[in-house]
């Protein structure tokens, strides 16, 4: 979706405020918010792509002004509500209306849970459509759902740098449509192709793009 999260190439956000010796969390509640969204019981079929999509549904003004972990609370609330695991009434009242479940991840399972080997790579029988070095154009498209093709690359021409194998397609996975794996490629775009003649001719930007995002150039 074309909203504020897709901010590559925008102007106006000012200088980068890099803090020295920054702690992992600035306030205790940030860690609680992060932890909830990592070790809570997830609804069936929940994916990292759904997580990212839900963050994108945050109102643009709040996306820009809310603390990062406050946005995680929003994501947790949204996924609990949409899955029916928590009702709006329960959330508003802060009191449960259902019996307590007993299958939440326990503390001694967290390390193993964080180190499970699940990943987005998938086997795919079809041969990759593109080869290393081939010129490709990122499609011009405006999906209203989740996608990982940023606006700044759409319609631009680059070349295939590497093939990562096949991976889960976020555009499908974010919307409950399964993995629908596709070949995934690293694509190099010259900075001048993306940004025009003022860009440094030596510089380039690389994006990992799924096959359906690309067409031969």
């Amino acid at each position: 979706m074309n909203t504020i999260h897709d901010m590559g190439g925008m102007h106006g956000f000012g200088a980068i405020d890099a803090e020295r010796d920054e702690p992992p969390f600035h306030e205790a509640w940030e860690g609680r918010a992060g932890g909830i969204l990592e070790v809570m019981t997830f609804p069936a079929g929940f994916t990292v792509d759904r997580f990212r999509y839900l963050r994108e549904t945050l109102r643009p003004d709040l996306y820009l002004t809310q603390n990062y972990y406050e946005q995680w609370i929003y994501i947790a609330e949204q996924l609990l509500l949409e899955s029916g695991m928590v009702s709006a009434e329960e959330l508003a009242r802060g009191a449960a209306r259902s019996a307590k479940r007993t299958d939440a991840i326990r503390a001694d399972a967290v390390w193993g849970f964080l180190h499970d080997r699940t990943h987005s790579g998938r086997d795919l029988d079809s041969a990759p459509r593109f080869v290393i070095g081939q010129r490709v154009r990122a499609r011009t498209m405006q999906p209203t759902g989740h996608t990982r093709l940023p606006r700044y690359a759409r319609g631009k021409t680059g070349s295939i740098v590497s093939h990562h194998g096949a991976h889960v397609l976020p555009d499908a996975s974010a919307h409950g449509k399964g993995d629908r794996p596709q070949h995934l490629y690293a694509v190099r775009f010259a900075a001048r192709e993306l940004w025009g003649e003022d860009a440094n001719p030596r510089d380039s930007v690389h994006l990992d793009l799924w096959e359906s995002y690309l067409e031969p150039a």
Binding site: G8, F13, R106, P150, D208
Partner: protein, 214 residues
């Protein structure tokens, strides 16, 4: 079915998110406390598991992991070759697995090439080797500017690259995570792998800094 709804049928779940802000505490600390207590009551989260998760990222998984990878690549040419050819497996050799670490590509800085990693769309970061990302990495200024103005961004981090250096920006749009292999600083020939690891900074592995010999 109207034409409009038909056209958007494939995105049936769009814009159905719940507008709950008016009913919830505006203070995030209170809001997260209420959520944790509700989820605990429903048995959907164990507070001790949240404690354990926090402890992992406060004290167990951080940029020291990545620094060990870099130092090993500096002293062991065969390891460096494996790291650049198949980053995931070379990093798994050191037993660094886990979240956002199953597909890692290491990109090498040289006197002629400088790599810089960003996630313009959210905050993707190689957690298994660098821990949690710093706030600036997740911020609008960095995400918006790293792709269009990498040299200006680097200058803000105190790094002014000669004009002949090629900058390669890596926008982490998929589940591939990028780790920059920084240049080994001159004058460190006598240092052990452990001493070298102590020099490697988080910023150098994102690409916004160089490693100094101290």
């Amino acid at each position: 079915m109207t034409q409009h709804s038909h056209a958007h049928d494939h995105d049936h779940d769009l814009a159905h998110h719940h507008d709950i802000h008016s009913e919830l505490p505006s203070d995030p600390a209170l809001r997260v406390k209420a959520l944790e207590s509700l989820l605990t009551e429903k048995g959907l989260v164990d507070p001790a598991a949240i404690d354990a998760w926090i402890e992992v990222y406060e004290s167990k998984i951080g940029p020291r992991n990545g620094a060990k990878v870099v130092a090993k690549a500096w002293v062991d040419p065969a390891y460096k070759e494996r790291l650049l050819r198949d980053g995931s497996n070379a990093i798994h050799e050191l037993d660094f697995h886990g979240r956002q670490g199953q597909h890692i590509v290491a990109v090498e800085n040289t006197p002629d090439v400088h790599n810089l990693v960003v996630c313009t769309l959210c905050s993707c970061y190689p957690l298994s080797v660098l821990g949690l990302p710093p706030a600036w990495y997740k911020s609008a200024p960095y995400r918006s500017r790293a792709v269009i103005d990498p040299r200006g961004v680097l200058k803000e981090f105190g790094l002014e690259l000669p004009d002949h250096v090629k900058i390669r920006v890596w926008d982490s749009t998929a589940e591939i995570r990028y780790l920059v292999l920084p240049e080994r600083p001159a004058g460190t020939e006598r240092l052990s792998e452990e001493q070298l690891a102590a020099l490697v900074t988080r910023d150098s592995m994102i690409g916004v800094g160089k490693v100094a010999a101290k």
